[in-house]
């Protein structure tokens, strides 16, 4: 770029200051989060007009409960995406953590809070292992987590002989089936709390800033004295914990830890894991995050799925719709971003 310093020169001219407020409004209107909110409201209206059952208490409750899990899965992928990496093993880790929790409750008759901690520790350990291998080998997280997704899942199936743990502590299952104020699942509250904690991490801590800096430009971050390897490992560890939370949420909801709950190798989680962050405006190349966006994105996806199923629009075609949605999301994002860049809004 040829910089003469003229274009961006000096402070803020008065005229621009006046239009500053308008620019900010425009920026908000063009933001992902706002767009998602509009879509959520729009689809809620459409679904409830076509099928009034959509707004029934149970339907709303079920929507909240399902989206809670999808939001956690989205968060789990999000914290790795910000480093510019991927974690294909989210599903595998989630199931492993859930199965370990189930094992602790059934075979060791542990009280559920301890078993939950055990499950999360398993998630953390597997995530950290991913991070360790990625950092040590210097290879892209794609291939490493592709391999570990297969390894984690295979070992889990081998050890559990593909059998479920159904002897789950009643207190734990009742948590997953509880209704607050008639329609709110406590699982959704868990996701909200996780979202708040993640927002604090990225906005108000040195660690969170270092994660974003590492993701945006690893070389620059390292040369500024950030221990980038350690940071990347932390991100994967965190991803493992969040995947574990999602897995345990499912256990609490279904009352059993089932090896196939995320499909073969945990692959069924992959699409929701990416849809949330991508719809929410988290950059796949790393360095920029939107916790609220991921939350809303995952919620929108769950709502669309639930609504379409409710309207009985070909359950078999669901995957096609989600695929098209992902495609549409990235294409719209591309157009939006180039518009913002042209208008110099970002």
């Amino acid at each position: 770029m040829s910089g003469t310093g003229k274009e961006q020169s000096v402070g803020i001219p008065p005229a621009e200051q006046a239009s500053g407020a308008r620019l900010t409004t425009l920026r908000i209107l063009l933001s992902n989060e706002f767009g998602l909110l509009v879509l959520i409201v729009l689809f809620a209206i459409i679904f409830s007009t076509i099928s009034p059952a959509f707004l029934s208490k149970f339907s709303l409750y079920a929507l909240g409960r399902t989206s809670a899990v999808n939001i956690m899965i989205g968060f789990s992928m999000m914290v790795v995406i910000i480093t510019g990496g991927l974690n294909l093993s989210v599903g595998s880790i989630g199931v492993c953590a859930a199965m370990f929790g189930g094992l602790l409750m059934q075979a060791f008759a542990m009280p559920w809070p301890l078993a939950v901690c055990g499950g999360l520790a398993m998630g953390a350990a597997l995530g950290a292992l991913n991070g360790f291998i990625i950092v040590r080998s210097g290879l892209h997280s794609f291939i490493i987590t592709l391999a570990t997704m297969s390894i984690f899942f295979g070992v889990m199936i081998f050890l559990t002989r593909a059998e479920s743990y159904r002897d789950i502590s009643p207190a734990f299952t009742s948590f997953g089936r509880m209704k607050l104020a008639g329609i709110i699942s406590p699982l959704l509250l868990v996701s909200v709390v996780a979202g708040i904690l993640l927002s604090v991490l990225f906005r108000y801590t040195a660690l969170g800033r270092e994660m974003l800096a590492t993701g945006a430009n690893e070389r620059a971050a390292e040369l500024s004295g950030i221990r980038v390897h350690r940071i990347i490992t932390y991100c994967h560890l965190l991803s493992g914990v969040l995947a574990g939370v999602a897995g345990l949420m499912l256990v609490s909801r279904t009352g059993a830890a089932i090896p196939s709950m995320a499909g073969q190798l945990g692959q069924d989680w992959l699409l929701p894991a990416f849809l949330g962050p991508v719809l929410g405006g988290t950059l796949l190349t790393g360095g920029r995050v939107s916790v609220l966006g991921t939350f809303l994105g995952s919620f929108l996806v769950t709502m669309l799925t639930t609504g379409l199923l409710l309207m009985q629009v070909g359950a078999f075609w669901m995957q096609t719709y989600l695929g098209l949605l992902l495609l549409a999301a990235v294409l719209i994002d591309m157009v939006r971003r180039s518009y913002l860049t042209r208008r110099k809004l970002i």
Binding site: M1, S2, G3, T4, G5, K6, E7, Q8, S9, V10, G11, I12, Y204, T205, A206, L207, G208, R209, E210, L212, A213, A216, N217, R219, A220, A221, E222, L223, S224, G225, I226, R227, L283, G287, R288, T341, R342, K344, I346
Partner: protein, 515 residues
């Protein structure tokens, strides 16, 4: 060297009104240029004046917003690089543009191979043909060798062979000599003169004015994306006159007298250091308040040495001393946090700054940990308090501290990368090519700042390929070539004698090798 006929009679390439804008920047504005048959045309300008954009427009990488180009009297509007190549335009690009795992031979002939995607490649013939070009350029290498095994200088020569092999009638060379030793440069110049005599039109971009004066016959100077002069005969223009065209006024070399700062405490010392990258027997010391310049050609291993000192690459032998005692640096974080060593990278965009983050984030990066409280808690307010004074001091021009660094001009970006280390209060600062891609005013400002920093006791290691900059700033100059130190001299600040002595030092090894 003689001036050819007037450009109007033998012009093979004429461009008028060339204009090209990028978001926020006008890179070229109403630029004119004409290249005549059998001439070597110099294209000069400061970094960021638009030279590369001009070359990319001629070679079909960028499309012009307006203006027109005529080639051999016909309208020339290249749709892409392939189109430009097929119309007889060859280029040696500034960035390295070879396919790393492909052989030298295949890289040289990549363009012509591509013309017939389904015709079998005859590798024997290809290597035979490649050898001819290599011999012509004096490169001793097997054409079947993959290029990623070559040294920087040989890679550059392969790129030149690649451009020559197209037998283009117009050949553009963007900094072709940056990595070449004087001997290799001489060989290249012989070939360029030969081509000129054969009627080829050459355009030569270099920041080494001595070279330009030696080989070129005409000159076009760009300043801020506009013509400062167009296709003017070079004869009669002296160095001063050219510089005046480039920067728009007389060159102002600050009248800083030579000083000896080697009596102060040695803050950074390297003793017989070798590294995993291949440095050998490196001895170097930088004292408190001293500016030590590290001069060498591109590929001499200077930035690599800097990064080894920082702990990014491994030091395999000898010892590094900071403040007189042996330093245990295992990672850049150790260097920055424990020993307060900072590094301003030559490559701002990919390793100096986080372009997509704000000014505040960038300047605060090295001190986040230091500022963070309980449970890593850290607010923008606290970072602002510790960084804003430095951002103000350096007069970084930005609408706000929240502005993305990527939106700032080159000069302001460079100020941000320096401010970062001021805020970190480093005692040793390594500055790598400080004036790449910044305007002349910021450059002068940065020079004063560097001088001021040294006066305040910071030990500075300055890496630059810009000879005048080196002679203006450094107290002591260390010359490197091929990952070794060739010698060191105190800077007398007399340009002519100093530049001659430095080039002699670089050539030193070559003469020995030739014997």
């Amino acid at each position: 060297m003689s001036i050819q006929n007037a450009p109007s009679e033998t012009s093979v390439f004429v461009a008028e009104g060339m204009t090209k804008t990028f978001p926020g920047v006008t890179a070229l504005e109403d630029v004119r240029l004409s290249l005549s048959k059998g001439s070597i045309h110099a294209l000069l300008g400061e970094n960021g004046a638009g030279k590369s954009t001009l070359i990319k427009a001629i070679t079909g990488v960028h499309r012009l917003d307006s203006g027109r180009m005529m080639l051999n009297g016909q309208l020339f509007e290249p749709t892409d690089t392939r189109d430009a190549i097929s119309r007889g335009i060859g280029v040696v690009h500034q960035e390295r543009n070879l396919i790393p795992r492909f052989s030298i031979g295949e890289n040289i002939f990549l363009e012509s191979l591509n013309a017939h995607p389904l015709r079998r490649i005859d590798y024997n013939k290809l290597f035979r043909d490649a050898r001819v070009w290599l011999e012509m350029l004096g490169v001793d290498a097997d054409p079947a060798m993959p290029v990623h095994r070559l040294s920087v200088a040989k890679t550059q020569l392969v790129e030149i062979a690649k451009a020559l092999s197209l037998n283009s009638r117009i050949l553009l060379l963007d900094e072709p000599t940056a990595a070449l030793t004087p001997h290799e440069t001489d060989t290249l110049f012989k070939i360029l003169r030969q081509l000129r005599d054969d009627g080829v039109s050459l355009m030569f971009v270099s920041h080494k004015l001595e070279e330009v004066q030696e080989i070129c016959d005409r000159v076009t100077v760009l300043r801020d994306g506009k013509n400062a002069c167009e296709s003017q005969p070079l004869e009669g223009l002296d160095r001063q006159a050219i510089v005046r065209l480039m920067i728009g006024r007389n060159e102002q070399i600050p009248d800083w007298s030579a000083r000896d700062r080697s009596t102060g405490k040695a803050l950074l010392q390297l003793k017989n250091v070798s590294t995993s990258l291949g440095h050998k027997e490196i001895d170097l010391s930088v004292h408190k308040g001293e500016i030590v310049g590290l001069y060498g050609l591109v590929g001499a291993g200077r930035s690599e040495l800097a990064k080894s000192i920082l702990g990014k690459f491994q030091v395999t032998g000898g010892e590094v001393l900071v403040n007189g005692s042996r330093a245990e640096i295992h990672s850049v974080a150790d260097a920055v946090r424990r020993y307060r060593i900072g590094y301003v990278s030559e490559d701002r965009k990919s390793e100096g700054l986080v372009l997509m983050h704000s000014v505040l984030e960038n300047v605060g990066m090295p001190i986040w940990r230091r500022l963070a409280g309980l449970a890593h808690f850290l607010t923008n307010g606290k970072i602002r308090k510790h960084t804003e004074p430095y951002i103000r001091k350096l007069e970084v021009r930005t609408p706000s501290l929240e502005q993305h660094v990527g939106n700032l001009s080159g000069g302001n970006q460079q100020k941000v990368s320096v401010a970062k280390w001021l805020a970190a209060e480093v005692q040793i600062l390594i500055i790598d090519e400080p004036s790449v891609g910044i305007d002349i005013k910021t450059k002068a400002y940065l020079h004063e700042l560097i001088r001021e920093l040294s006066d305040n006791g910071t030990a500075l290691l300055l890496i630059t390929s810009d000879m005048p900059e080196m002679i203006t700033l450094a107290d002591h100059i260390v010359v490197m070539n091929d990952y070794r130190i060739m010698g060191e001299i105190d800077n007398t600040r007399d340009y002519d004698t100093m530049s001659e002595r430095i080039m002699t030092l670089i050539q030193g090894e070559e003469l020995v090798a030739a014997e």
